[in-house]
């Protein structure tokens, strides 16, 4: 088998993983009756590439394995995405996803690392994940571990000043074991990011702060994988991947006129339509 066909096959398999994760996101949030499905859907290819293409090294049976790579979901309201990926990876049964947001379930509205193995940081107050990632990356360096840290933020989330303090610190510490992925879906809670707080052009900002920055189509698995590969091979400085995505992809059309649909689960009817698309 040539490398090319192996990669092709791999992408097929990854695409079916991505679909499965998307179905879980829709099912779990609709069952919960609340949550952020559209925020979760835009990051699916990124999580798929991290967890199922051999990028992250992890062992669901040893969630505290010191040498594991870390994925920190800084945009904690995307919890349904994280939970779906963790279930898919074997941290817990997929049936648990239907307990999302229910009393007693460790699948809280936002990730809680004390309750759910596989969750690397408790998030939900936006803007803190990259700083935590720096701490983890520094500790790995101190312990001579080869662990890599991946942090995902939203594009509204990076309004927070703390994110930019972290951007400066990661450069100072030359953290080439740290990669930031911005899920640039163009919307935040109250509207388009271009209107609320326009951060464009974004990739040049990271470059100006001394980072290696790449801009990609965040729904193209091969692009995501190539960008992660380049980040891994970048030495002496941290990497930022600005992933252009679509909030609610690929079911945004059935959600009516509001392209943001922030923090609203799909109704049962919408969910049925979405699941048909995601078959």
């Amino acid at each position: 088998m040539t490398t090319a066909t192996r990669a092709d096959l791999n992408v097929k398999e990854l695409e079916s993983r991505a679909k499965s994760i998307r179905r879980s996101i829709v099912e779990s949030t609709t069952a919960a009756g609340s949550g952020h499905p559209t925020s979760s859907l835009s990051g699916v290819e990124i999580a798929t590439a991290l967890y199922f293409a051999g990028v992250l090294r992890y062992d669901p049976k040893k969630p505290r394995w010191p040498e594991r790579d870390r994925f920190i979901l800084s945009k904690g309201h995307g919890a349904p995405l994280l939970y779906a990926a963790l279930a898919e990876a074997g941290y817990f049964p997929k049936s648990d996803l239907l307990t999302l947001r229910k009393l007693g379930s460790p699948l809280e509205g936002h990730p809680n690392m004390r309750r759910l193995p596989g969750v690397e940081a408790s998030t939900g107050s936006l803007g803190q994940g990259l700083s935590i990632g720096i701490g983890v990356a520094l500790a790995a360096r101190l312990d001579n571990l080869d662990a890599r840290v991946y942090v995902m933020t939203g594009d509204g989330e990076i309004d927070q000043g703390q994110v930019w303090e972290a951007v400066m610190a990661a450069h100072k510490f030359k953290l080439d074991n740290l990669t930031l992925i911005v899920d640039q879906n163009g919307y935040q809670q109250t509207g388009a990011t271009a209107e609320v707080l326009d951060l464009k052009p974004l990739a040049p900002k990271f470059e100006a702060f001394g980072w290696c920055a790449q801009e990609i189509n965040g729904h193209e698995l091969s692009d995501v994988l190539a960008a992660l590969e380049k980040a891994r091979n970048t030495k002496g400085r941290p990497s930022a991947i600005v992933a252009r995505t679509i909030k609610g992809y690929p079911i945004q059309e059935i959600l009516g006129s509001d392209p943001n649909h922030h923090g609203k689960p799909l109704t049962k009817e919408e969910a049925a339509k979405a699941l048909a698309i995601l078959r």
Partner: protein
């Protein structure tokens, strides 16, 4: 008691009204105006509304600058984010210079439910009370929130208004005689005094009903203003009833219970009990389930009162 609007909704509507009366009023929000309900104001007065993005520290600093230039500022976000993310800015850019900024924290308490602990302001009252010069108000329902907003607009010093997310029972069906720093006696009584604010006022009234069935005559005070506290009302309760139960949807430390205990301790110490969240975060769940699990209910207030006998 019939269900009324949420406190945040009542706040948003009252704020939009205020905007008409005073062209000097400006509002800052951090990408949550459809949650805090400052969107009512934003729609009416877009030129006086500033959405600064998800950046609460920056937002509070901006509020300070606007206020130091003579604007009358209302700054809103979730209680957890505006108090915890922007605390240094509240301290240095608002409290220390004593500027006219009204800070509003919505989604306070555990009754927000499913979103879980990261979004629940459970320490906001404590933090607000620790800002010198801040008035701190926790309204119980829709009518008293209208009054609270007007009262806060009438003072020129900084203040914190706490607002919950869910719709809440109407305590004041026949209007509300609201004065900052003055407790409202909702029910007279001679055996025990139940002091509450916010969501727990309705629960305290329910508890008083249940206690009556057990032959206990409970006084109920709505202590909507935590700072400055109505020391006279606490003294009267302590002297006349000799037993106090304080109930709040907040951490035990630094909230209404602490304030009342300090006041009673200074003036006339009596046995007290506290219904509050004790040294813990909550979790995700339905609001009623959480209130029951963490003991913020009429039933717990009754238990607390009975344990004083």
């Amino acid at each position: 008691m019939k269900l009324g609007k949420s406190v945040r909704e009542a706040f948003g509507l009252a704020l939009a009204q205020l905007g008409e009366a005073d062209p000097n009023i400006v509002v800052v929000d951090g990408d949550v105006h459809n949650s805090t309900r400052t969107d009512y104001f934003a729609k009416k007065f877009p030129e006086r509304f500033f959405n600064v993005g998800i950046a609460e520290s920056n937002m509070v600093g901006i509020a300070g600058g606007l206020a130091s230039s003579g604007k009358r500022v209302w700054a809103a976000s979730f209680a957890a984010f505006i108090m915890c993310n922007a605390y240094d800015q509240l301290r240095m850019s608002v409290a220390f210079p004593g500027l006219d900024v009204k800070v509003v924290g919505t989604h306070a308490g555990i009754s927000i439910g499913e979103d879980g602990p990261s979004q629940m302001g459970i320490e906001d009252v404590s933090l607000a009370c620790s800002l010198p010069g801040f008035t701190v108000v926790v309204p119980a329902d829709e009518p008293s929130t209208y009054k609270a907003v007007q009262a806060l607009a009438s003072i020129r010093t900084p203040a914190y208004l706490r607002a919950g997310r869910p719709n809440v029972p109407v305590v004041y069906e026949n209007g509300c005689d609201f004065h900052l720093g003055k407790a409202i006696m909702l029910r007279p009584g001679k055996d025990v005094t139940l002091i509450a604010n916010g969501l727990l006022v309705a629960a305290a009234l329910e508890a008083a009903d249940q206690l009556k069935g057990k032959g206990i005559d409970a006084r109920v005070l709505d202590m909507h203003t935590v700072k400055p506290l109505d020391d006279a009302a606490v003294l009267a309760a302590a002297r006349e009833n000799g037993r106090i139960v304080v109930a709040e949807e907040h951490l035990l430390h630094g909230g209404l219970g602490s304030a009342v205990a300090l006041s009673a301790g200074r003036q006339h110490p009596v046995p007290m009990r506290f219904v509050a969240l004790v040294d813990t975060f909550a979790e995700s769940g339905k609001p009623e389930e959480l209130l029951a699990k963490y003991g913020l209910t009429a039933k717990e207030i009754v238990k607390a009162a009975l344990s004083l006998n």
